[in-house]
Each structure stands twice: as C-alpha cells, then as structure tokens.
C-alpha cells in the first residue's frame, strides 16, 4: 500500500513527472531560444512561473459555473498523474493500453470544459478547435498503438516492454518506425505544440480556452501541460523503444522530445481543417501502412 502511494505520488508518479515535465518545458523553451539566436530562460523558469501564478489572485468570470471552471483543471491533472504512474509500472497496475488512451483524453477534455465554462467567445472557439483536434489525431494514434499490439499480442504495457526486451525494439522494424512517426505527430498535437497549437493560437484567440484563467487554476493547467511534456514522449518511448527507468531510457525520452521540439520550431501553425485533413489523410495512411506491414510480419 505504502509502496503504491509512493509510486503514485512520488516516483514515477506525480512528483517525478511534474519535475521532469517542468524541466522538459524548460528544455523546449531553451532549445527554441537557441534556434532563434536567443539565450533563453534559466532552468528554474517553469518553476518560477508556477510559484508566481500561485501567488496571484484567482479571477472567475461573471456568471460562470464555478464548480466546472475551477474543477476542470483538477481533472486534467488527475488524468495525467494516473497515466504517469501506469506507464512505468512493470507489473499490471490499474490499467492497460486502452485505459491509457482513454485517460489521455482527460487533459484535453479538462481544457475544453474549462474553456467552455469561461463563457468567452474566443475560449469557446478554442474549445471547439481542441475537440476537433482530438478527433483528428485520435485515429492515427489508435492505429499506430494497435500496430504495436498486433506485434506483441498484448495490451499490457509491461508485456509490450518485455516483448521488446526479447525481440528487439519496435522502432527497429519498418512497421514500428512508421507507426512511431504517426504516433509522434499525434503526440505533437496532444501536446498542443506548433504546428498544432491552434486551440490556443495566441495571435488569433488570445489564449483560447485558457483565456479567462488566472492564478492557481492556470498554474494547474500549466502543470498538467508540463507533465504531458514528460508523460507523452515517455509513453512513446516506452511503447516504441522499450521501457525501464534507466539512463538509457532517459536518452530515448530525450530523442523523442528533441524531435518534438524540432517539429515545433520548423513549422507554422496549421489551420484546423488542414490539421483534420493531415491527420485523417496522410498520417492515418501512414499508420495504416504500418499496420499492414506489421500484419505481413515486417
């Protein structure tokens, strides 16, 4: 029991994921800055942002449902925390791959409900874009992940890791590589990173769903986003490159993170219909190709 609580709250659960995620967002900002010939923020920057936000007063817009407005960020955090505990557990713990896919729906849903509860027209447009984006990336994400399931014949994350330890990494095979590419783009969208940052498109929608948030709820949203920066690339690394929380794994994680940052900095934002077309067209096609290859044993 104590061990479980420790796993969940300290390592590799909440605290570890939060810390690693905050560092990852810093890395993102730093690398972005370097690519733009800038110096970039110091390493403690995300932490300072959070501390600052906690000290700010919380503003609730007039006439909104307080419970939804203030409750939404918490549910997003709960979803990502649970995932962070599941994906590193070697033994079956709480849930399997399908559970992870569904739990990963919680953070976007939290953002959507928060934005929708804000009653601001720009937030509402942002929420609708976020939802459309979810619809867009869900298909290739599912196809890519189930390509792995087809190869490993298991939906248990521990089993998938074990399979890779025995028979080589997923990404080593052609189908695994394609599936990884498709899943990577889906993760890019899940992170709301450019070119898929259209729900929060700062220049169009101010901050979209988060427009009305301030103080602690905003801090929780940012923390959730930061944890996703750790959890999602780590999830990809576990599924496609094998798991185990060792230095090698951190290297794998960093590779995935670097890919994400690079995509982010070399592309302009897409329009929502472009994103839908991209995900339902080429990216899903890529994932389907990966599946077919996997079926053929490649």
């Amino acid at each position: 029991m104590m061990a479980m609580i420790f796993n969940f709250l300290i390592f590799p659960g909440f605290l570890f994921a939060a810390g690693a995620g905050l560092l990852a967002t810093w890395l993102d900002r730093k690398v972005t800055a370097r690519l733009q010939y800038r110096v970039g923020p110091p390493w403690f920057q995300p932490l300072a942002d959070l501390a600052k936000l906690l000290g700010k007063e919380i503003i609730v817009p007039e006439g909104v449902s307080r419970s939804v407005f203030l409750g939404a960020p918490l549910f997003g955090l709960a979803g990502v925390t649970l995932v962070s505990a599941i994906i590193f557990s070697p033994a079956p713990f709480v849930g399997d791959l399908i559970v992870v896919i569904y739990l990963l729906m919680l953070p976007p849903l939290a953002v959507i409900f928060g934005g929708s509860a804000s009653r601001n027209p720009l937030s509402a447009i942002g929420a609708s874009r976020e939802m459309k984006l979810v619809l867009a990336y869900e298909l290739p994400f599912i196809l890519a992940l189930f390509t792995v399931v087809l190869k490993t014949h298991s939906i248990m994350i521990g089993e998938i890791v074990r399979y890779q330890n025995l028979s080589g990494l997923m990404i080593g095979s052609l189908s695994g590589l394609f599936a990884f590419a498709a899943a990577l783009l889906a993760v890019q969208a899940k992170l709301g990173a450019v070119p898929f940052d259209l729900p929060e498109a700062e220049q169009e929608l101010a901050a979209g769903p988060l427009l009305e948030y301030s103080g602690a709820p905003l801090a929780v949203f940012r923390l959730t986003r930061a944890m996703l920066y750790f959890v999602l690339p780590a999830f990809l690394a576990v599924i496609f490159m094998g798991g185990g929380l060792d230095p090698w794994f951190m290297l794998k994680y960093l590779i995935v993170l670097t890919l994400i940052i690079l995509i982010k900095n070399t592309n302009p934002r897409l329009r929502i219909d472009h994103a839908l077309r991209l995900f339902w067209g080429p990216v899903s096609g890529l994932a389907a190709l990966a599946f077919i290859l996997a079926w053929l044993g490649k």
Binding site: L54, G63, L74, L77, V99, F113, R119, K132, F146, D273
Partner: protein
C-alpha cells in the same frame, strides 16, 4: 396466478383502467410500475421461474432484463407525473406505457417463438401511439416507426416460419442451428431484422431520430433509449447464441461487426452536426447500439459480456440523458441548441446528472460506459489472432467514442455552459430524481463493475469471462481522488482566498449580446472535409434512410399500382377508399396478425397456417404500404 403472468397481465389490465379513469392514470401507473419493480426484484432473486401458460420462463438473464425494464419504467412514470401534467390524453399516455411494460415482460420471458412474436407485435402499438402523442408532426414519425418496426415484424414471421421448417420446434433454443445452409441464413436475417428494427441498428434506425423530433422526452427515454434497446439486443443475443450458432470469424460475425461499426460511426457523425438536443441524443441512441452489435458479433464470451453490459449501461445513461433533455425542455420550452445556454448555474442537479451520463456515454474512466467499451475492445483484440479486419472495427469503435465525447462537449457547451439568456430554475424533485438516480447508478456500475453488474447481471448469462487487460476501477477512482486532492492542495497553497469575480474579457469592450458561441456550429469544419462533406450532403438528402429509400421505391411502385387500380375497379372496390380508412385497415391487419397468432397458439394447428398467414400478411402489408406511400407522395 403465476408471478410471471402477473408481470404481463397486471400492467396490461391496469392500462385499461388508465384508459377509463383518466384522472387517476398517473397514480395508478406509478403504483403498477412500482409493483412491477417489486415483482422484478422477486423474480431476479428467485433466479428460475416457469409458467406453463403461454410457455413463459424466467432465468437470470431475462429476469435481469425485466428488472431493468421495470426499474426504468418506474422512474420514468415518476418523472412523467410533473412533466406531463396538464398535457392532453394523459390516460392514454400512462396506459400505453403500462402496455409496453407488460408486453416487454412477455417478450423477455417467452420461451416460444409465437409467444415472443405476439408480444413483440403488441409492442408496436404503444410505440406508435406514444410517438403519436407528440402533437404536430408526430403523425409522420409515428407512421415511420410503425412501418419500420411493423415491417420488420413481418419479416420475423417469415423467419420464425423458416426456423420451424428447419427444426420442427418453435421453442426458443430448442435446437442450435449452424449458419451453413442458405435457408438458415435467410431465417437468421429475417429474425435479425426484427431485433435490429427495435434496437435501431442501421439501416433500420430511421424511426428513432424522426421520433425524437416530436415525441415527449420520457417516451424517448423509455422506448428508443432503453426498453427497445433491451428488447432488441436481448433478441439479438438469444438469436446468436440460443437459436443460431454464430462463431468467431464466420461470415455472419463479420457482417455483424461491419454493421455495428458502420452504425457507430455513421450515427455519431450524424450526431456531430445536429442542432436539436433531442435529435442529437437520438442519433447517439442509434450509435450506441453499434457497440452492442459489435460486442455480440465477435462471437466471443468477452464480447458478448461487453455487449450486454453496454446494453444495461446504455439504458441507464441514455434514459438519464433524455430525461435531462426533457427537464431542460420543461424549463426553457425549447431544445434548440442555439437558443439555450448557461444552465449549469441555474439547474445544477440536472447539469450534474447530465454531465455524469455524458461522461459515461463518452467512455470516460472510471464510469460504467468505459468498462463495457473496454470489454468490447478487448474482445476485438482477441479477434486479432483470427482476422486482420479487427483493427477496422476497433478504430471505428474508439473513434466513435471520441466523436461521442465531441458531440457531448457540444451539447454541454450549448446547453449548460456557454452564455445564457434563459433564467430557468431547477426543476421539481420528481423530475430531477430520476436522472440523478440514473447518474448515481452510472457511477456505481462503473466503480463496482466487477462486484455488481458483471457478477449479477452478466455472469449468469454469459458465464465466466477471461480478461486480457487490466482495469481496476476502485483503485483508479481512489487514485483519481488522491490526485484531485493534490490539485486542491495546490489551490489551497495558492492565493485561494483572493477569489474575485470580474466581467468576461472581450478586448476591453463590454461583450456584445451577439458574442455568444452557441456551439451549434462547433463541428462545421468536420462537415466540410471531403469526403465527409459528400456523405453529409447525401445524408441530408436522406440517402441513407432505409425508410425514405423504401418510400421512394414505394412511390415509384405505387404509380404502377394506381394504374393497376384503374384496371381492376370492379374487383376490389373498397381499395379506393380514402387514406384514413387504409390506415385503419393496416391497424386491423396487425390486429388480425395478433389474433391469428393467438389462435394458432391455442389451436395448435400451427404448421400450415403459420406459413400461409405470414405470406398473406406480408403481401397485404406491402400492398398497403405501397398505397400509403402513394398517397404520401401525393401529399
């Protein structure tokens, strides 16, 4: 009298009283449905019961279904007391609800195909009448429901005849037919039509959205949302495992999976772009059936368990959603999404119930909808050992789930969050009690999935099931609670005392009244994507509506019939009477159908007559439908 007979004849008898004593109808219906619930509990606890008369038999599976049906009926009657107060034709309303309950009991407990058929046919009448109660425009919807459901019933007669020819017995489960010969397959599909039309599987779904446009909310909650699903899927399950033998990787299994996936995706895509609350929910009522069909269609115990569990879950959350929609309509007088908004603050209980049910239908862990979907997904993954097509069904099911979430985001935004103009207050307790109870049940069935529903409702019917995944709802819920507290802790670490209310930020301007995003157009982008745009456009032209297609066919054929008419005026003169007469005639035919079935049952002279009656009635029904279609075309 046998307790099983009570379940049938008490409500049907009471319905007569309702027709006569209209004032007391509500109270009577409440008492009768409460008695029905008590009977249901008793039967459920008893496990096995038999009634020689009418050849009824209760066993755990049918008992649990009856329990669910009577429970929902009770809640909905309670809900109706205030909701329907002051409406016209209340006596009929409660009477038909009771007939539905009684006939459903008969259908659940029947062990004989003819008994089944009799009650099955009987169910069509209250369905027609209840939808017709909706006032203006309800007539067309009711007719549509009757045509589809009645037509499918006619096919069922053929199917039963064929089954009898093949096995020589009319007992359900008398013999297990492997689906090899063409005749068996035809029989299977004929019977399947009956189940599908009731449950609303594509392409026989057309009556549900049509009904949702006009029928009262409790009617929708009772019939298309729950009772008809229970009946249809019950029949489907029995057909697949008690009458015919559906094996994994068979052509029929493939067909069911394909049809189920198609239903999930097509209906949910339809739901995404609806702009009326009840109609949107109706599309989900169709979409959710797809999961059950997929689950049962796998041919694996895991899938059947998932499908049946999903059936119960769907009855719970779908009724809840329709009842919440009714409450919204009750207070605001409209279900047009563009006219609603901001009710979360004024109707908190309705909102909470709706939100839980919406999360449940979207498959958000740890609610019940997730668990049943999870079981179905696992069964699909099991199929991976056999056939590569599983990924298509799985992707359709999971994407359908995401689309469901999307359309509920739209509703929640448009009705409960978003901006408000309405100043509605919370509804009377009798109205919110039913949805809140059902929402609570969603949570209970989700958290205690293994301990309660799977153990008591599903396991007796399916037997033991072997999971291939892991999901520990109680632990997960506990951990979610822990992380929620962590989040709350963060709030309290922060400057939570300084909670201020400020106007909405609109670039420094005051937000103009028109600055309201109603949510109606949330998914226009999806609609405009090719090839979806083409599909949507075709859908708007009703190309996928079986009924409309047939109507078009009939319109075309009726032109020929009119010519035929002109040539044979002397032979059947009454055929040229007015339309109202023909509707009555159709009603009479259905009554005759029931009568014949009753006679057959008593006389035992089944063999020849069944086939003849079936053929005659199908021919007559088609002819009349054609004529009606003709007059429909001329309107």
């Amino acid at each position: 009298m046998n307790i099983l007979l009570w379940t049938i004849f008490l409500p049907i008898g009471a319905s007569l009283l309702c027709f006569i004593f209209r004032r007391a109808a509500g109270g009577a219906a409440l008492i009768v449905s409460a008695v029905g619930l008590a009977l249901g509990a008793k039967i459920f606890l008893a496990g096995q019961l038999l009634s020689p008369l009418l050849a009824l038999r209760a066993y755990p599976f049918s008992a649990s279904l009856y329990l669910a049906a009577s429970f929902l009926t009770f809640l909905i009657v309670l809900y109706s007391l205030k909701f329907m107060a002051g409406k016209e034709r209340l006596g009929e309303y409660y009477g038909y609800i009771l007939i539905t309950l009684g006939a459903a009991a008969g259908a659940f407990f029947a062990t004989d195909f003819l008994t089944l058929l009799m009650f099955w046919g009987l169910l069509g009448i209250p369905l027609y009448m209840l939808i017709g109660l909706g006032g203006d425009g309800a007539g067309g919807a009711a007719k549509k429901a009757l045509m589809i459901v009645g037509g499918a019933d006619a096919l069922m007669i053929i199917g039963i005849g064929l089954v009898w020819c093949l096995t020589g017995t009319l007992r359900v489960g008398g013999a297990l037919l492997p689906l090899e010969q063409p005749l068996t397959v035809i029989a299977f599909f004929c019977l399947l039509a009956g189940a599908f039309a009731k449950a609303g599987v594509m392409p026989l779904h057309g009556w549900i959205p049509a009904a949702a446009e006009s029928a009262p909310a409790p009617v929708l909650a009772l019939l298309p949302a729950s009772l008809d699903k229970l009946l249809g899927i019950y029949l489907l399950a029995r057909l697949c495992y008690d009458v015919f033998l559906v094996t994994p990787n068979s052509a029929v299994s493939f067909f069911l999976l394909a049809l189920g996936s198609l239903t999930i995706m097509a209906a949910v895509l339809g739901a995404l772009v609806q702009h009326d609350l009840k109609k949107l929910l109706a599309f989900h009522a169709v979409s959710q059936v797809g999961y059950m069909v997929v689950g049962i269609g796998t041919g694996l115990p895991l899938g059947v368990a998932g499908g049946l569990f999903h059936m119960f879950n769907n009855a719970i959350y779908k009724s809840c959603l329709f009842l919440c929609g009714g409450a919204v309509e009750f207070k605001n007088g409209t279900t047009d999404l563009s006219k609603l908004g901001g009710l979360a603050k004024t109707m908190p209980l309705t909102f909470a119930a709706f939100l839980i049910a919406a999360f449940s239908i979207s498959g958000v862990p740890p609610l019940n909808g997730f668990v049943s979907k999870w079981l179905i997904y696992q069964s699909l993954i099991e199929l991976s050992k056999i056939n590569a097509a599983w990924i298509i069904w799985l992707a359709a099911a999971m994407l359908g789930s995401a689309c469901t979430a999307a359309s509920f985001v739209k509703i929640t935004h448009a009705v409960f969050l978003g901006r408000s103009e309405a100043k509605a207050r919370e509804v009377h307790w009798t109205i919110w009690l039913a949805p809140v109870t059902l929402a609570a049940l969603c949570v209970v069935f989700g958290l205690g999935a293994y301990q309660l529903p799977l153990r008591f409702l599903i396991a007796p019917a399916v037997g033991l099931i072997g999971l291939i995944g892991v999901w520990d709802p109680l632990l997960a819920a506990g951990l979610i609670l822990v992380s929620l507290s962590v989040g709350l802790l963060i709030y309290f670490l922060g400057n939570v005392d300084a909670l201020k209310t400020r106007p909405i930020f609109a670039g420094g301007e005051e937000l103009p009244a028109a600055g309201k995003v109603s949510g109606v157009d949330f998914y226009d982008t999806v609609r405009q994507i090719r090839p979806l745009a083409l599909i949507y456009r075709a859908g708007e032209k009703r190309w996928f509506d079986f009924y409309e297609l047939s109507a078009a066919l009939l319109r075309w054929s009726s032109a020929w019939l009119v010519r035929l008419d002109a040539k044979i005026p002397g032979i059947i003169p009454w055929l040229r009477r007015d339309r109202a007469f023909k509707i009555k005639l159709l009603g009479a035919l259905i009554a005759a159908e029931l009568l014949v079935e009753g006679l057959l049952l008593v006389s035992g002279v089944r063999e020849i007559l069944t086939g003849l009656a079936a053929l005659a009635m199908v021919a007559a029904a088609f002819y009349l439908a054609g004529r009606l279609g003709g007059s429909y075309a001329n309107e």
